[in-house]
């Protein structure tokens, strides 16, 4: 939002042209260079984890824990990457996630699932997420309401609706076909991690290899140019917010599988974590540039950070102070790295 983020400003020390040449020499795309810094931050964090936690940190089991924890946030972050790439924001993902877990685990849904299989619960979660996303999209694209306000309103409203439906109770999932399908491991890797992987790969292709992705970047980079090139900008925004809602629904299914419970408190404050991961990953808040790989690394950084803290049994207040400092340090490191690697 502030000028520092605009890559297009011909700011004094921005060696655009120069950078390009050295980059092409290395055969690296701009996104790759930016991601290198992030990987460095993640590796540094892992090193700290290993030095302080030893085998408790550096084990396959722990890796799976970190990945599992990253999965729910990660799936939403993929959808959020698209939203932020258009220059928008979706504050409602956390509460929509909560709503989908509640709706998909009501007595009625679970009873129907007993009859027709888990598809009912999954379908319910996805539909609810999609619907919430599309409502956001309509309000933003066709109502011209600033995304921040529209999705903040959805945040509040979806939470209220979830409370109404759940009657403020936690709904336990005991639908066996759902549990057997989504809980546990596959080839030694938790199923929800597989889902995250699939969504991430699909998201990467969608953003980088399809017209949908190209249009997303165009809408965020220069909406007027996109319009003049014949893109239906409003409809595209609608789709993108729908997509974000859909990923919230997928994440809802994953959370249901992982916690075995639907609750209106699910996803509380998740939005900030998700946005932070996406932005730390290198997607620009002003729009026009998005990176799925960066987002995945961003999510992993946050999950690893939590893991390292708990393994070291650090007081939660101290954790928070350290967390703030480390996030800033990671971003600074990333910048430094990007600058150095190109000189």
């Amino acid at each position: 939002m502030s000028e520092q983020q605009t890559p297009s400003s011909p700011a004094a020390d921005n060696p655009t042209k120069h950078r390009e040449s050295s980059r092409s020499r290395l055969g690296l795309s701009g996104a790759t260079v930016r991601n290198l810094g992030l990987v460095a931050a993640l590796l540094l964090l892992c090193l700290v984890g290993f030095l302080t936690g030893g085998d408790r940190f550096a084990s396959v089991q722990n890796l799976m824990i970190v990945l599992s924890l990253a999965s729910v946030t990660g799936v939403i972050a993929i959808g959020m990457t698209f939203v932020i790439t258009t220059g928008g924001i979706d504050l409602s993902v956390g509460s929509v996630l909560g709503l989908t877990t509640v709706w998909a685990s009501t007595l009625a849904t679970q009873t129907m699932a007993d009859q027709y299989g888990w598809i009912v619960m999954v379908g319910c979660a996805l539909l609810v997420g999609l619907a919430a996303g599309l409502i956001n999209g309509v309000i933003i694209a066709y109502g011209n309401v600033v995304a921040f306000i529209a999705t903040l309103s959805m945040l509040v409203a979806a939470r209220g609706l979830a409370e109404l439906i759940a009657n403020r109770r936690t709904q336990i999932v005991n639908q066996s076909s759902f549990e057997s399908t989504f809980q546990g491991d596959l080839l030694g890797v938790p199923k929800i991690v597989w889902i995250f992987a699939i969504v991430a790969v699909a998201g990467w292709f969608l953003l980088n290899r399809t017209t949908f992705g190209r249009r997303t970047v165009a809408v965020g980079g220069n909406a007027e140019a996109a319009r003049l090139a014949g893109i239906n900008v409003k409809r595209h925004l609608l789709y993108v917010y729908g997509l974000a809602g859909l990923t919230a629904g997928v994440a809802g299914v994953m959370l249901l599988a992982r916690t075995g419970a639907g609750s209106s408190t699910n996803g509380l404050l998740l939005e900030l974590d998700v946005i932070a991961a996406v932005v730390v990953g290198g997607t620009l808040l002003v729009g026009g540039r998005g990176t799925i790989v960066g987002t995945v690394i961003g999510v992993l950084i946050f999950a690893t950070l939590t893991n390292v803290f708990i393994i070291n049994n650090i007081d939660s207040s101290v954790q928070q102070i350290a967390r703030g400092a480390i996030i800033v340090a990671a971003v600074l490191l990333q910048q430094r790295f990007a600058r150095r690697s190109t000189s």
Binding site: S8, A12, K17, R19, R209, T210, R214, V217, G230, I231
Partner: protein
């Protein structure tokens, strides 16, 4: 070049009216375009040229009027409809997306895709072909457009129009950001297209270009057609200018009174370098002198100006004003020492588009206008109004948002900023880019008047005649090096071009 029966126009626009809420941009404009011709659209800044072609492109909906293609009335209700009817447009405002690659920009909106997946290889090879056709095989399809210069972006925009296989290509001031070599390239492609029967609608403020490629001319003034289908060969320049401006404009550079030998040196630049861009630039400007920098696009002229001004931190060298060294890399210090810069890209580097004119004008003069941090809006407006009047700013009111001014008037407002401030040294980067003939000579006069009053002026322009005509002394820059320095009278356009080319070949 007109290959078909002139009686059968390809495209006709009749009685086009476009009202913006509160303003009439077009008030009944007609335009006939024949197949295979280059039809030039002329008019002052704000005459309505861009608005007209935006109506044609489906970007604006006309309030009234009809558009005919091959004699059939058509509706262009959105940009896609225009493209479907074979009308492709290069807009005046660069309409590329920085975050996408060259190839992606060219095929934006008509991506080659199977089942939604872009066919990257096909797209890349076609892009390579297009770039080669435009004389720029060195621009790779996968390069991010944000990393290209303004000229590069214009070429991408051109390639996009070509990729549409259009029957009519509209070019809104394509040459404004191009240097002479690029313009030659552009014209070669235009010739190629017209020989295939494609019609070109060409907008430019450079009359000599129109002489070179134009077939017929339509002149707009204040949103109405004042000259219709004039033949380029038969219409003298005076008449065109008279049609556009409604008066006789002396299209000449102001007299050079000559700088007295004893005039003090105002600005002294010694061995200034910016690593990777230019090196060891030395120059000095005396009070009352205008020095011009000539060179190709990308030769580093803008960077020299910005480095002198402190907007970029020099890696080496020194800038002195009246014998006192300036702090390196500090715009604040330069402004405080009364150095002003009118940057190259008005919109992105100079203006606060949504703010009123007077606030744009006083932005650098708070030290003069504010007392203890408190602003006196009345004093501000008075100061701005005074300079607006001196520059003949139109419309004269300083309360309107500067966005609503035409390009030439925005440029005048930039100059007014430094007039209010009162400058010892004025650095002008492309001061007449996109400015119409009338305003252009007013700006020349103004610069000369400032110099006569003792200001030292450094001008960068891609139009070599402008540099030669306006400046007392000319420095030729090639590849970040000063390759020539001498009085403007002692050198002509061809010599400059030779030096420039030689330097870049070396």
């Amino acid at each position: 070049m007109v290959t078909e029966d002139p009686a059968a126009p390809l495209l006709q626009m009749q009685g086009i009216v476009k009202h913006f809420p509160g303003a009439k941009a077009l008030d009944g404009v007609d335009l006939d375009v024949l197949p295979g011709e280059v039809h030039c659209l002329l008019g002052q800044n704000g005459a309505g040229k861009s608005t007209l072609i935006k109506v044609l492109a489906g970007a604006h909906q006309p309030t009234a009027g009809t558009i005919l293609m091959d004699g059939q009335e058509i509706q262009i209700s959105h940009p896609v409809a225009a493209l479907e009817h074979g009308v492709a447009t290069m807009y005046q405002e660069l309409d590329v997306v920085d975050g996408l690659t060259v190839a992606e920009n060219i095929y934006l909106g008509h991506e080659l895709a199977s089942a939604g997946f872009t066919q990257r290889r096909t797209v890349a090879s076609r892009t390579r072909e297009l770039m080669a056709r435009l004389g720029h095989p060195e621009i790779p399809p996968h390069r991010e457009v944000g990393e290209l210069s303004a000229a590069g972006k214009q070429i991408v925009s051109m390639a996009r129009a070509l990729s549409r296989d259009a029957r009519v290509i509209v070019m809104d001031e394509p040459s404004a950001v191009l240097d002479s070599g690029e313009v030659d390239n552009l014209f070669r492609v235009v010739d190629e297209l017209t020989s295939q029967g494609v019609a070109i609608v060409y907008i430019s403020h450079r009359l000599e270009e129109i002489r070179r490629i134009g077939d017929r001319i339509t002149v707009l003034k204040d949103g109405v057609t004042v000259g219709r289908n004039l033949d380029v060969a038969d219409t003298p320049t005076d008449e065109l200018i008279k049609l556009m401006t409604g008066k006789n404009v002396e299209y000449a550079f102001p007299e050079r009174p000559g700088v007295p030998q004893d005039a003090p040196v105002r600005l002294e630049v010694t061995d200034l370098s910016l690593s990777g861009v230019f090196s060891d630039v030395s120059l000095s400007i005396r009070a009352g002198e205008i020095v011009g920098l000539a060179g190709l696009v990308g030769s580093g002229r803008s960077e020299i100006l910005e480095t002198i001004y402190g907007a970029r931190r020099a890696t080496h060298g020194r800038v002195q004003l009246d014998g006192k060294s300036l702090r390196r890399g500090s715009v604040g210090a330069a402004v405080a020492a009364d150095i002003g810069l009118a940057p190259e890209e008005r919109k992105s580097q100079g203006l606060l588009l949504d703010e009123p004119v007077y606030r744009n004008v006083t932005l650098s003069s708070f030290a003069r206008i504010a007392r203890g941090g408190w602003l006196d809006e009345r004093a501000e407006k008075a100061a701005a109004t005074e300079q607006a009047a001196a520059l003949d700013l139109r419309p004269a009111g300083v309360d309107r948002a500067i966005r609503t001014l035409s390009g030439g008037n925005q440029q005048k407002a930039m100059l007014a900023r430094w007039l209010v401030h009162g400058c010892e040294v004025l650095l002008l980067d492309e001061p007449t880019r996109g400015v119409d003939v009338g305003a252009r000579s007013e700006i020349y006069d103004l610069v000369r008047r400032l110099a006569d009053a003792g200001t030292a002026v450094l001008v960068v322009s891609s139009e070599i005649p402008e540099v030669l005509g306006l400046a007392d002394r000319v420095l030729v820059i090639s590849d970040g090096q000063v390759v020539h320095s001498g009085p403007a009278e002692s050198i002509d356009e061809h010599q400059v071009l030779d030096m420039v080319m030689e330097g870049s070949a070396a």
